[in-house]
């Protein structure tokens, strides 16, 4: 087995979606069914990445391949300092697994979309953008060079903006698109600054080289705060991309895009990019930066989960849920368990994609996404309901689901962090998040899916009131009948859901669901040393649950966690059931207390009412500066130029032209004087010849 085979498979899997994108982008408008090409290419990409994954883990579990070649050599004028920009790709356990996850979710979403987007006039644009989205994400995964990573980072962003605003005739979609763009700009700028810090100090874009320098004690600006700054700046990119506090507002609004796109954004591509970036950059995090990551993650987790409890739009519930789950990943990462952050990313990718596709199925079937208007769907959508139960259990972290395994690890990491340094804040935030998560998951089950005998007779009337403009724009005319009875859609909808439900079962990840991290199938491939990054001295690993030697505290943390986590989960579920019995489960979102949560703690208003006016004021200030200082300088330069030109004009007129005219005048006069000897008579000329000859002879003989 040659390593080159794995590398070639990996790179082919990266570029397959690009082929799909190009084909449907250029000929999609002409051929109506061309979007199946994207599905086929998605399947090819999936097959390639699965093969690469199998071969990599089977034959080369200990190897990291890092290929780079020089792209541009820059020699400074002094000649002493020169550096080259190299393009590079890497293949290691982490990114092969990540690529496979991306391809699985992407393929599932592509299959699902063939039915969901059926009949949309712009369907080829949709599919080509999805392929492009997947390609961007694959490219981001494939390179250790921060420059290439940043390029694909922006392409991922670009594709997601295009897809959020896919229904561009809707003002709300356009606004959501712009919001996503603007909020990502802030984080991307921080990420860019981080890259520049690394570039200025280390003269390289290659993240593995940067790790080496850091390990040798070569810190940015030669101080620990330099490393902290670098870590936080890179985390800034992840904050906006992964919709973390305080740049999380764009994600709920991204629901304006088609639902399968939400599944893709929330599971595998857009927001996963931030977590993936932090995972590969984790060796750069020192204690301070790691704590910032953990704290931001914890705050976002509680923020997202608490806001999700009162949302009325089924997609927004899951959107806020994503913010909280990503927050949990960052909390695990910041407390040292890089492995659990990644593991939760993988399991979350499947069950969150599943939840979104479930909500897509509900919306597709009922054309309604307000949970107050939906009820007893279990009677009509048995498959959707069944898979929802699996996904909901997984997101709550119920035993025997993938979510249980990963979430235990996340919570245990934070508890271990607390046990070691006595700071239980992050752990408390995680447990609070678990409570809210269980609450909203059970709430959706009770309100939307649970078969309620009392409601059933009223069902027939209920469908007629569902004509919300916010519903995903369905243009399928062949579904005109569905107002009379809600029914499951075809296999293109059902099979992806079932596949994702299967992927949310624990046995795919670990045989013993309450075992130590060592028993995870993926764990042996994803320890820090396997990823080629030994940690700097003051790093996050002392707190890590998944790294380092066994200790008493680790056992303690692993012992506490199942009880604590399962306890708060049950508490949350119980709370939802009690409130349901009291008929208070779906409170008025405009209530005194719920209003704060419903509006996301008014963070949107914070941005629109405080930040935006400040920004406008600042811009006006800049405009004044521009008007009086910059324009003043420009105008002064203009005036100065006019003066200088006038002076130069005078000089030109009198000196330069004078010299020319004088020469002409001299020539004129000389010619006039000399022309008299030109008589035209042969004898005169001969006379001149004779005298000249005599003159020359005399001259020669002197």
């Amino acid at each position: 087995m040659q390593p080159q085979i794995v590398i070639n498979l990996f790179l082919s899997a990266v570029f397959t979606p690009l082929a799909g994108f190009l084909i449907s982008f250029f000929i999609g408008r002409k051929l109506s069914k061309v979007y199946y090409i994207n599905v086929i290419f998605g399947g090819i990409g999936l097959a390639l990445s699965l093969t690469a994954l199998y071969l990599k883990l089977q034959f080369f579990p200990h190897e990291n391949w890092n290929h780079s070649f020089e792209w541009l050599a820059i020699n400074s004028a002094a000649g002493s300092e020169s550096f080259s920009i190299s393009l590079s790709y890497w293949v290691n356990n982490l990114n092969v697994i990540m690529l496979t996850v991306v391809n699985i979710v992407a393929f599932v979403v592509l299959v699902y979309s063939t039915d969901y987007m059926h009949g949309d006039p712009d369907i080829h644009r949709y599919f080509s953008l999805i392929s492009f989205f997947v390609f961007s994400m694959s490219g981001l995964i494939a390179s250790p060079s921060l420059m290439i990573l940043y390029i694909f980072w922006e392409l991922v962003g670009f594709a997601s903006y295009k897809l959020i605003g896919f229904w561009r005739h809707k003002d709300s979609a356009a606004a959501a698109q712009m919001k996503a763009f603007l909020m990502n700009r802030v984080g991307d700028m921080m990420f860019f600054i981080g890259i520049l810090i690394a570039l200025i100090h280390y003269k390289t874009f290659d993240i593995t080289k940067i790790f080496e320098y850091v390990n040798q004690g070569n810190l940015p600006f030669g101080a620990d705060w330099g490393l902290t700054l670098l870590g936080i700046m890179i985390f800034g990119g992840a904050v906006s991309k992964s919709a973390q506090f305080p740049l999380q507002n764009w994600l709920p609004d991204a629901m304006e895009g088609p639902t399968p796109v939400s599944a893709l954004i929330h599971a595998a591509t857009m927001v996963a990019a931030g977590v993936y970036l932090m995972i590969i950059a984790s060796p750069l995090l020192n204690g301070t930066a790691a704590y910032v990551v953990a704290l931001i993650g914890g705050i976002s987790a509680v923020y997202g989960a608490s806001v999700a409890t009162v949302q009325t739009d089924i997609k927004k519930i899951f959107a806020y849920s994503t913010i909280s789950q990503l927050g949990m990943m960052f909390a695990a990462l910041g407390t040292g368990s890089v492995y659990f952050a990644f593991f939760h990313l993988v399991t979350h990718a499947f069950f969150k994609a599943g939840l979104f596709l479930t909500s897509g199925s509900v919306i597709h079937s009922t054309h309604e996404q307000d949970i107050r208007k939906l009820k007893s769907l279990a009677a009509f959508l048995p498959v959707t309901t069944a898979v929802y139960v699996v996904f909901a259990l997984a997101i709550c972290g119920a035993p025997f689901t993938s979510g249980f395994v990963s979430k235990e690890g996340v919570v245990a990491s934070t508890i271990l962090f607390g046990l070691i340094n006595g700071n239980y804040l992050i752990a408390a935030l995680m447990l609070l998040t678990s409570l809210f998560t269980a609450y909203y998951s059970v709430k959706v089950w009770l309100v939307v899916f649970r078969k309620d005998k009392a409601d059933l007779p009223a069902e027939s009337s209920h469908h007629h009131e569902v004509s919300d403009e916010n519903t995903a724009a369905h243009s399928d005319d062949d579904h005109g009948e569905h107002h009379h009875h809600i029914h499951e859609h075809g296999y293109a909808i059902k099979l992806p859901l079932i596949v994702l439900a299967v992927l949310s079962v624990w046995v795919l990840y670990v045989l013993n669901p309450i075992g130590h991290a060592d028993s995870h199938y993926l764990f042996p491939y994803l320890t820090a040393e396997k990823l080629g990054s030994s940690a700097p001295a003051d790093s996050l690993y002392p707190y890590s649950l998944s790294e380092g030697p066994e200790s008493e505290l680790k056992h303690q943390a692993e012992l506490i966690t199942p009880f604590a986590a399962t306890g708060v989960t049950l508490l949350g579920a119980l709370l939802a059931i009690i409130l349901f019995r009291m008929k208070k489960l779906t409170p008025d979102p405009e209530g005194k207390f719920t209003r704060i949560l419903y509006n996301g703690y008014y963070l949107d208003y914070f941005y629109t009412d405080i930040i935006s006016p400040l920004a406008v004021k600042f811009t006006q200030l800049i405009a004044l500066f521009d008007k009086y200082v910059v324009d003043g300088i420009v105008n002064f330069m203009g005036t100065l130029t006019v003066w200088i030109s006038t002076a130069a004009g005078i000089f030109d007129k009198y000196v330069v032209d004078g010299a020319v005219n004088f020469t002409a005048w001299i020539t004129d006069k000389t010619g006039f004087a000399v022309r008299k000897i030109q008589t035209g008579k042969v004898q005169d000329y001969l006379l001149f010849v004779v005298f000249t000859l005599i003159f020359l002879i005399v001259l020669a003989s002197i």
């Binding site: 030109q678 008589t679 035209g680 008579k681 042969v682 004898q683 000329y685 001969l686 006379l687 004779v690």
Partner: protein
Amino acid sequence: MSITLTHFIAVSAVLFSLGLFAILTRRNSVTILMGLELILNAANLNFVAFARFSDTPFRGDVAVLIVIVIAAAETAVALAIFINIFRNFGSIDPNEIKTLKE
């Protein structure tokens, strides 16, 4: 007093000067042609004199015969030109022929 090379050259110089004077001053082209002949003969005289007083085996006096022949041919051509000039300008006075100026 014997006749030396200097005497020959002096006579030749006088002949040359007279010819040149005739060429520069005469108002009749035919006279100018005659001046030209004088100059040619001055040159011929030099040839003969140098041949007489030189010890070199190459006798320049042969050139005199060639010069006389060419002078005859030249005179014939010149007279033909004069006829043509007379036809064009109505005169063979060189002062009247000033078109070289243009």
